[in-house]
């Protein structure tokens, strides 16, 4: 029991630290691309602490308060069901009691909790943002899960541990053995990280409205915290599935950072898409590739 508690706290702490450092890096990176100095790498930590220690928080009814709590609980549960290390007793959380499909569904608990809270606030613009978010989710989930399903078919299991264990060395990484699955799911994965160019849902400047419009003070802090932790959990999941997992913490940081850098590079390079353009894009390009992938890798041997 003590092992589980320490392990869970370690996972959460690591996700949090990695989360604010990665986002801090992203702000620096973005600034340098735009020829600005940008804030410090620790800026996200400072911002988060500032929110969490605000004295005033306005709520719009009980559901508005419980929504962020549901989102946070969903995020923590997700973190605890993703195995962070391979061949280790540590940083495993409760991942032996879960599987890949469960994790993918846990990722969606957050948006739904958010939707309840925003609906309860009574701000129509917030609800509009939620609808946009759910629409984007509908677009990205199909190719995302199809890419992961290709991996599940390849290894004939839905267990993240088993998929990780099968990737013994670089040549056996799923990135190498099943590149088409990686290509199919990588863009939807970026969208699930709320990364540009798919971030019109909560875009900070252009769109006044969005899912976060009514949240303030400590509730905003909670939302920011869970977002950073969730980002890391998703990165680790993809590293587990395609980059062979990691046996040490340093390897884990290197691999997740590589994925994050890829996301950041795409984000800074492309202009933002509207929601329906996003959905249409996902259903044409990544899904089309996925269909080709299915025909080429699953149908072609014609069992």
């Amino acid at each position: 029991m003590a092992h589980y508690i320490i392990d869970a706290l370690a996972m959460l702490g690591m996700s949090y630290v990695m989360g604010f450092l990665f986002y801090g890096f992203y702000r620096q990176f973005n600034a340098r691309v735009q020829r600005r100095w940008g804030p410090s790498v620790f800026q996200n930590f400072f911002d988060n602490m500032k929110f969490l220690f605000k004295t005033e928080t306005i709520i719009h009814g009980p559901m508005f308060f419980f929504g962020p709590m549901i989102i946070f609980a969903g995020a923590v549960t997700t973190v605890l069901f993703v195995p962070y290390l391979k061949d280790s007793n540590w940083l495993q959380g409760f991942s032996h009691s879960g599987n890949l499909i469960l994790i993918i569904y846990l990722l969606v608990v957050g948006p739904l909790g958010n939707a309840l809270a925003v609906g309860s606030s009574g701000n129509p613009f917030g609800v509009m943002g939620v609808t946009r978010g759910l629409t984007r989710l509908m677009g990205l989930e199909v190719p995302f899960l199809l890419g992961l399903a290709l991996v599940m078919v390849q290894h004939e299991t839905a267990s993240v541990h088993a998929i990780m264990a099968a990737q013994t060395d670089f040549a056996h990484w799923n990135l190498m053995t099943n590149p088409i699955a990686f290509i199919v799911m990588i863009l939807p994965f970026m969208a699930s990280q709320h990364a540009s160019p798919f971030d019109v849902v909560g875009a900070p400047v252009e769109v006044y409205a969005g899912p976060r419009v009514e949240f303030s003070g400590r509730l905003l802090g909670v939302l920011m915290t869970q977002n950073m932790m969730m980002t890391v959990a998703k990165l680790v999941l993809i590293a587990d599935l395609f980059l062979g997992g990691a046996t040490t913490i340093w390897a884990l940081i290197a691999k997740t950072f590589a994925l994050f850098l890829l996301t950041a590079a795409v984000s800074t390079s492309f202009p933002r898409l509207r929601t329906e353009q996003t959905v249409d894009f996902f259903w044409k390009i990544p899904l089309g590739l996925g269909v080709i992938g299915v025909i080429a890798t699953v149908w072609f041997p014609w069992s």
């Binding site: 308060f65 923590v76 069901f81 009691s97 569904y105 009574g122 609808t131 399903a149 149908w299």
Partner: protein, 590 residues
């Protein structure tokens, strides 16, 4: 007198439960010419009998609140009798009698609603009679080639005969489950039926179609592959069935999103959810059939819960459209939790059993390597989040949009009791998915001669593709939720409620009571801009049938031109055909 009638009716609603618990041994009743009517409770029919046994009393309780209505009670009695008869039947004669009793009594019940119009009633009876006659044709065809009405494996038949049987029976049952494009009667009747009877239609009667589809594997024990060959890891006939299911699910989901009436939305969502079951049945492996059964169970509970809750809202406010409701969360908190648990089950989110059902079906599709079907199913299942959200936002969140919504009170206790029972059942099933597998689903699979799925403990759902532990999941989630809420409240700082519901950030302005703030019915309208969804929503099934009529008439016109008005041409043609036939016969020496 009134009270006694009501008590009798309540007792009546327990008859499926009584049958379920007390039935032992088969009953055979000899008719003429060596044909025997046989009745027995097989594991498969016991599963569906259990659904009926759960559902019937839960719908009867809120019905007791209304003025006692003897003729409706009598029709319910007939309906329950018919459904039990068809579940118990061991041969197609009993099955057909039960099916007809169910069709007619439900039709008469539907007619008793003041909202039912001619179109709704006609489409209900026409489609259901078509289903019954297809069933009749199927069973008579079966009798003509095997001299037997019993529901058992047919072997030693020609492939063509099997195909005919398969098509007749599956069409009959697909009408009942409302597969596209045979679903026209579903939204109309679910919408127009008395509010509580809609729960019966959606939760219980649609399952009879599923039961029908599930006796098909009994007739074709090799899982359809004999009819049509195999594709990847499944039969081709099943592949077609699975696509029918998933297309139904996808289109019905988008139609559900665009509805502005709560009951119509639920009707389309029923079509979609039952579509998943059809898909899983098409896969036909033990995992997928297990998933189909699980989904049937969850869908029954969820739809009972949602329809009863919605009936309560309609009773208290008199409104059924999303535009007319809003902000009921503080006035109807228990109903809010009813809908919340209902939509979580409907969307298949993890802690509740909807996820277990989805998981089994997904894994079944992955095991069969039918990934394109999986992608389509994920599309339908993710899109369902939008209508689930609409269902909870419209009535409960946002701003109250009508005087009734501003003053409504919580639904009467007769409505709340079934809701609370159903919520408890759903949560318990979510924590113990292994129990459902072990106790409810595995016996059916064994009865169908399939490998049972098995569960190491009641908390675990386990497949050869991996599984999950419901207790761990629920306790982690609950612990974190409690801890974070406590921690949040302990940190320094004030939290207070906004001074008025109009205290919003609203483009720098202050909205007033006249500002339209409820997003209700508009939700999902912008989805039309996505080309695929826009295309689906622009086309209707009525339009499809109209197009079919036009095309048929055009084709008939073209064929008609072949027949000239000149009788001499006809005569010439007849002589020519006669001559050609004779020549061929003499050449082949027949």
């Amino acid at each position: 007198m009134n009270l006694i009638t009501k008590l009798l009716f309540l007792g009546l609603s327990f008859t499926p439960a009584a049958t379920f618990f007390t039935w032992d041994g088969a009953v055979a009743w000899s008719l003429f010419n060596g044909i025997t009517l046989s009745f027995d409770l097989t594991p498969l029919s016991a599963f569906f009998m259990l659904l009926l046994a759960i559902g019937a009393p839960l719908i009867a309780v809120p019905m007791l609140r209304e003025k006692s209505d003897e003729s409706a009670y009598a029709l319910y009695a007939l309906l329950l009798l018919g459904m039990q008869l068809l579940l118990l039947a061991g041969d197609f004669i009993g099955f057909f009698i039960g099916w007809e009793m169910m069709t007619w009594s439900s039709y008469l019940l539907l007619l008793r609603s003041p909202r039912t119009d001619l179109e709704g009633a006609q489409s209900y009876i026409l489609f259901n009679l078509a289903s019954a006659f297809l069933l009749l044709a199927g069973m008579l065809f079966l009798y003509s080639i095997t001299d037997d009405f019993r529901i058992q494996a047919v072997d030693g038949l020609l492939t063509a005969d099997k195909l005919v049987l398969f098509v007749l029976f599956s069409l009959a049952f697909l009408i009942k489950v409302g597969a596209l494009p045979l679903h026209l009667w579903v939204p109309r009747s679910y919408d127009q039926a008395p509010d509580l009877f809609s729960a019966f239609l959606s939760a219980l009667m649609s399952k009879m179609g599923i039961y029908g589809l599930m006796i098909l594997p009994l007739l074709f024990p090799d899982g359809f592959s004999e009819i049509s060959g195999r594709f990847l890891n499944g039969p081709v006939a099943g592949y077609v069935l699975a696509w029918i299911g998933v297309i139904t699910a996808t289109i019905a989901t988008f139609k559900a999103i665009s509805q502005e009436d709560m009951k119509r939305l639920l009707a389309y969502s029923s079509i979609a959810q039952v579509g998943y079951i059809v898909t899983a049945l098409g896969v036909g492996s033990s995992l997928a059939i297990g998933g189909a059964l699980f989904q049937a169970l969850v869908h029954t509970l969820v739809k009972l819960l949602l329809f009863i809750t919605i009936a309560g809202i309609i009773l208290q406010t008199g409104h059924r459209r999303f535009t007319d409701l809003g902000q009921l969360i503080s006035r109807m908190p228990i109903s809010f939790f009813g809908v919340l648990i209902g939509i979580i089950g409907l969307a298949g989110m993890p802690p509740l059993p909807g996820f277990a059902a989805k998981y089994l079906m997904y894994v079944g599709l992955i095991e069969a390597h039918w990934l394109l079907l999986l992608a389509a199913m994920i599309l339908a299942s993710t899109a369902s989040f939008v209508y689930c959200y609409k269902l909870i936002y419209g009535p409960f969140l946002g701003h109250a949009n009508s005087p009734e919504a501003k003053t409504a009170t919580e639904a009467p206790w007769q409505y709340l009791i079934p809701q609370i029972i159903l919520m408890g059942m759903l949560v318990a099933l979510g924590i113990f998915p292994g129990w459902a597998i072990d106790v409810l689903i595995d016996p059916v699979l064994i009865g169908l001669n399939m490998t049972p799925i098995g569960a190491p403990t009641w908390a675990q759902l386990s497949t050869n593709y991996g599984g999950y532990d419901g207790v761990v999941l629920m306790s982690v989630f609950a612990t974190v939720f409690v801890l974070i809420t406590a921690l949040f409240l302990l940190i320094r700082g004030n939290m207070h409620r906004a001074a008025s519901p109009y205290d919003l950030s609203f483009c720098g302005e202050v909205p007033t009571a006249d500002t339209p703030l409820h997003y209700g019915a508009g939700m999902g309208r912008e989805l039309r801009r996505v080309p695929l969804i826009g295309w689906i929503l622009r086309h209707t099934t009525t339009g499809f049938y109209a197009g079919l009529t036009r095309q048929t008439q055009a084709a008939a016109g073209v064929i008609g031109t072949l027949y000239g008005s000149n009788p001499q041409t006809w005569l010439l043609l007849a002589v020519l055909i006669f001559a050609v036939t004779l020549t061929i016969q003499s050449v082949t020496g027949a």
